[in-house]
Amino acid sequence: MSGAGRGGGSAKGPEEPRGPTDGWQVVSYMLGGMLLYGGIGWLIGRWTHLPVLFPVGMIAGLAGAVALIIFRVSRT
């Protein structure tokens, strides 16, 4: 039973796919990453008059989010 293992606090058990929530989790991470590093890039871009830092930050955030997802999924 997937839920029992998770709720039971098994510290490092492998995560089983749980339908729609995993998909939304991925979307949340990607949004979070783009929001955070895009925002930081935008601020630094305003400060240094380099507007290109905004998209660069967004892509960096996306890469970070993808890395995060890979770490979470592939842990044993």
Binding site: G3, A4, R6, G7, P20, F71, R72
Partner: protein
């Protein structure tokens, strides 16, 4: 939708009569107050929300006022609903120990669903969830609950660590990834929970408005009749699609709530 159709009808606005298509806009989501009680304006969405809450409460009270071992009639229906929420939404996410949240998840699921269904009931015809305050209020309840749950389960520091440190990531990348994890858990999750429900109901209602209004606007004794028929068929198909989406959105809202609760209570995620 009825008020727009009525106003379009009153104008006698048809194709080839020199008047433009009365396109739906965000104005259609803003209602004039029905009544004012001590400076507090009561609008249609508020009345709908109360009405829907009333329906859900009344139904479950009626179904279980005299529970019998062998359920019949309304009790049967009520049990089917509860078992569906328990076995399809709650248990897959939280397991048996999540059963104490069953009343909350059930209320959430049925309230959201009935609220959404109001979008296609004639005369009522407004999904109140397309006003962002309604999903936002529900999300706030969920958010406060899951933060509280997490703090009670893991302690303030343990929970903060849980929220900020992604499991499985090597330590040297944590400074880069922890902020994403924290932002996702604290801000993006409740935000997407709200926006998903709100945007789906808004878009669905606008779609129905577009084709509903077009059916009337294109109606004339000319080639327009063909267009009007097509538009009407689209309205019917989209209404059926909306029935599906309304249930689906309620399901996703309840499922994600259960998932967030389970996540807050797990000792590592």
């Amino acid at each position: 939708m009825s008020h727009d159709l009525a106003s379009a009808a009153a104008g006698g606005c048809h194709i080839f009569t020199g008047c433009g298509y009365p396109a739906p806009s965000i104005e259609d989501f803003i209602f004039k107050p029905i009544a004012t009680v001590g400076g507090f304006q009561i609008t249609k969405p508020m009345v709908l929300a109360l009405f829907c809450a009333g329906i859900v409460v009344t139904f479950f009270w009626f179904a279980f006022r005299k529970p019998q071992l062998v359920p019949r009639g309304a009790q049967n229906l009520g049990e089917m609903g509860i078992l569906f929420v328990r076995d399809q939404i709650l248990r897959p996410q939280m397991g048996k120990k999540g059963d104490r949240f069953l009343p909350f998840i059930i209320s959430l699921f049925f309230f959201v669903w009935i609220m959404n269904v109001m979008g296609i009931i004639p005369v009522l015809q407004f999904p109140a969830m397309s006003r962002i305050a309604f999903p936002l209020a529900l999300t706030l309840m969920v958010w406060v609950t899951y933060i509280t749950l997490g703090i009670r389960h893991n302690g303030p520091i343990g929970y903060f660590k849980n929220m900020a440190v992604p499991a499985g990531a090597p330590w040297w990348i944590l400074p880069l990834l922890s902020p994403i994890e924290l932002l996702t858990n604290i801000f993006v999750r409740p935000f997407t929970l709200t926006i998903r429900l709100f945007a789906n109901m808004l878009a669905g209602h606008v779609l129905l408005l577009v084709f509903g209004l077009a059916s009337w606007y294109l109606f004339s004794a000319s080639i327009g009749l063909l267009f009007a028929t097509t538009s009407l068929i689209m309205t019917i198909i989209l209404t059926l699609l909306e029935v599906l989406i309304q249930a689906l959105q309620a399901f996703i809202f309840a499922t994600l709530t259960a998932f967030y609760f389970a996540d807050a209570m797990s000792s590592s995620h």
